[in-house]
């Protein structure tokens, strides 16, 4: 793990630090102006949040099927990161909306479903922390439902009337906006991998400590 961690730390941190310079030089969007610059971290954070929810759900399904502790560790680590990236989305989105739409929040399909997805990840962590014996399996089932919500979050803007931009925005970005956007997206994804690696290490150490306690009791 240490072999991956150090290069990942250097590359991800350097990219994350350099991204604001690229964003500063990116073209202004014609109708929103400066506030649209929030997009460069808001949208990739949303993408990483959805990827993390899928990782959590798939790992949980594997855990329910094979009872593999490694899959459970991955699910727990991913759930925490879903909450972290979800928090970033939930806080930066309203800052952008206040200027672009004139309101902090709107209960439309995309925003409401994203909020529900974020709450599912939080409830997973609560179940794992306070659920007692068997909470690993209960939490895993909850995570699978959380993953089922992901396609609805992504496609909601195309099916329902919403203030939120449609999914067609990102694939059709002009080059002056697309370059900094994909750079920021890569930086945030590498940071996700970095934090996931660190969180997985913590979970493995906890499992090793539990094994030591069990050995001592025997």
């Amino acid at each position: 793990m240490r072999k991956i961690f150090l290069p990942l730390l250097v590359v991800a941190t350097a990219m994350f630090a350099y991204a604001p310079y690229l964003i500063d030089g990116a073209a202004y969007e014609s109708s929103m102006g400066l506030v649209q610059k929030i997009f460069y971290f808001h949208a990739p954070s949303g993408m990483v949040m959805l990827v993390s929810a899928i990782v959590c759900g798939v790992a949980s399904a594997l855990y329910l099927w094979k009872r593999n502790p490694g899959a459970d560790h991955l699910a727990l680590a991913s759930a925490e990161l879903t909450v972290l990236y979800g928090l970033i989305v939930m806080l930066t989105g309203p800052l952008w909306a206040r200027k672009a739409w004139g309101i902090w929040w709107d209960w439309d399909a995309r925003l409401t479903m994203s909020f529900v997805g974020w709450l599912i990840a939080i409830s997973y962590l609560f179940v794992r922390k306070y659920g007692g014996p068997g909470s690993d399996k209960l939490g895993a089932a909850l995570a699978v439902f959380g993953t089922a919500n992901v396609p609805f979050i992504y496609l909601s803007v195309n099916f329902w009337r919403t203030l939120h931009p449609k999914t067609s925005v990102v694939p059709t970005l002009p080059p002056l906006i697309a370059g900094p956007f994909w750079f920021s997206a890569l930086a945030l994804f590498l940071l996700y991998l970095l934090l996931l690696t660190a969180r997985l290490h913590l979970e493995r150490q906890r499992a090793a400590l539990d094994a030591l306690y069990l050995e001592e009791e025997d």
Binding site: F16, P20, G33, L34, V35, K37, I38, F41, H42, S45, E80, L84, L87, I88, L91, T92, L95, W96, R98, K99, L191, L195, A198, R199, H201, L202, Q205, R206, A208, L209, L212, Y213, E216
Partner: protein, 86 residues
Amino acid sequence: MLSTLLVNRLLMALALFQPAAQGEFVPVTPGTATEQLPAGPLVIAAYAIIWVAMMFYLWTIWRRLNKVESDMRALERRRAASSSAK
């Protein structure tokens, strides 16, 4: 009957205090347009939130890892002490 009359009077009185409806739109003089809500603080707040959230989470991992590793060291010391006592 009297109450209806009073309500009508009240509504008429309120209408007197309402600002007059806008009859025309006046274009702004070029170069003097200003935004009502400045975007700068919103953008800075958004980036600050991202940095603080990332750093805080990294710090919590580091703190939890330190706690687990110190527990492991303490357990190993206790086991070593008990095995040497035997």
